[in-house]
Each structure stands twice: as structure tokens, then as C-alpha cells.
Symmetry: C2
Subunit: 178 residues, 2 copies
Amino acid sequence: MSSRYEIRLSGSGGQGLILLGIILGETASIYENKNAVQSQSYGPEARGGMSKSDVIISDEEIDYPKAYNVDFLLALTQQSFDRYTREVKKGGIVLYDSTLVHSPREGDYRLIGLPLNDTAIKDIGKSMVINIVSLGAIVKISNIVTIENTEKALLKRVPKGTEELNKKAFYAGVNLAK
Amino acid sequence: MSSRYEIRLSGSGGQGLILLGIILGETASIYENKNAVQSQSYGPEARGGMSKSDVIISDEEIDYPKAYNVDFLLALTQQSFDRYTREVKKGGIVLYDSTLVHSPREGDYRLIGLPLNDTAIKDIGKSMVINIVSLGAIVKISNIVTIENTEKALLKRVPKGTEELNKKAFYAGVNLAK
């Protein structure tokens, strides 16, 4: 059985999905001794304002760095939900924002709706930390890396002076997913 | 003839190579209507402190997102120079930091040494902008995207309040490569 795990983070530009992917990749590789590839591909969709960031985590070397059989999809807009759920594998997980995605279509995947954006706004006071709230929820739900190691990678990546804010956002996401 | 152009940015963690890759990818895709893939793969080398960021730019859709025939290598440490020059294609370009890389081995590529780090320290006062100085040099040397469009993408990506500093670093790199 392959240990390959594919995570796709999708939404709109400005939601910080690249940073979210980088933190997941660094957690897996630097703190958990796994291999990881993090990538963004930009095509016509990027010019339309969509954003997508992929992370592949594996115990083995990663030969093919593109996601094609997604284990875990984060969808922060309706457009990204509609576009990417079709690439989720049977039995995979789809985590969506329950306010920003109005029509979460069911399929051969496990659907989880959480108020990620509302939590960023109400609990933290900044909708721009939706990516870090999402990070907490993804790690809690997927168990692909530990919460402790993710916190380490997170604190190393965020700008100085924003550590406490980001830590609070991260654990708000963890608690939301409990 | 393929329009595919592969750029590899290599050095050590903390030199900001991921951000450099993201800005190049966004310049090509959002401002120049091309396709781009930007990726970092993390393996044992990442745990050893090496850092690598790849950008592939193409007029066509990018099927294979991994660099395998590098057109342009940036090497900001001796270790990364030694490791990655072997993946540069015949006739490709190797831009290295002339202070940080002590033994630039010659090969079937065009070698260009520039004091990128010294410029970041002396002209800008911050070695952490070595990535943005390098961005200016890469764009000037490769012509893969325009200087004007890169400036737009750069200013959209850097933290508020640091625009002037980064613009200065960028043009210091452009001038260095003239």
C-alpha cells in the first residue's frame, strides 16, 4: 500500500493557500522525516482569481509531483468546490467552508462543512487568518502530521510579532474540527 | 520547438527562494498570460538546510511539473552549486553568488557570477533581500518576463510598508546584471 497522501487547497487569491501548503510541507518534511512536494500551477483559472495549492506527502520518494487522486480537498469557495471535488478519490475527504460554499454537492467522499471564515472573523478578528484556521482543521481531521509539529512549523513561518495571533487561529481550527 | 523554460532557485533555507519562485510564477501567469508551475520538494536535503524552488514557464499547458532540464539555475551557496549544476541543460545559464560560491566549476553552461549578497547588504542594508536582488538579475539576464511586469507582481506580493525597500533591491539586481 502506498503512503502517498495528496492534499489540495483551493479557494480564491488572497486566502493564503500557498502559505498553508508550505507549512504543511515543511511540517511533514522537516519535523516528521517524510518527503513532501508543494506546488502551485497557474493557468487561465489563476487569472480569473482562483487559487490552488497542492501538497503531496509520502514516506517514499515522490516521483510524480502532481496531485491526481486527491485524498483531502479543502474548498473555500463554491467555484473551487465545483471545480475540484471531481478529482477527489473515492472515500476521500472534502472539507468546505459552510458559509462560503452554498451548495456542497454530495459524492463518493466524506463531506465536512465548518465555519472556517466565520471563525477567523469572530474569534480572531481577521478573515485573512482563514488559512491558519483551516490548517488546524485539516491537521485535526486528517492526522497526516501531528498538531505539535504543525505548531512548530507554523511559528517558524509566520512574520515576527504575529505568532500569538496565528497560534490562536490554528487552535481555533483544531477545536472546530473536534 | 518547445516554449518550456525551467528555472531552479537553490541555496539555503532563509534566503527566501520560495517567495522568489512565487513572484516569477505570478509574473508569468497573471501578467503575461503564460502557464506556470512553481514547486518545492522537501526531502533529506531540506532537513540539512538546503532549499530549492522550481519555476516552469510555458506558453502551453505544463504536463510534467518537475524540472528535469534546467534552463536557468540560481545557486546561492557552494553546496547548491555543486548539487544542481549537473541538472542544467547544455547551453543553459548558471547565475551564482560570487562571494558565497567559492569554487564555481565550469561546464557546458554559461557561468555568471554576481555579488548578490553583498549588494543586498551594502546597497539595501539587509542580506534578507538577496532573493529580490536575485529576482532583478534573473529577469534582466533571462528576459523570460519583463522588468515592468515583475515589478507589478513583486509589489503585490511583499508585505505592506516594504514596497520601496523591495523595489530598490529589485532594481539593484537589474543594474547588477546589465
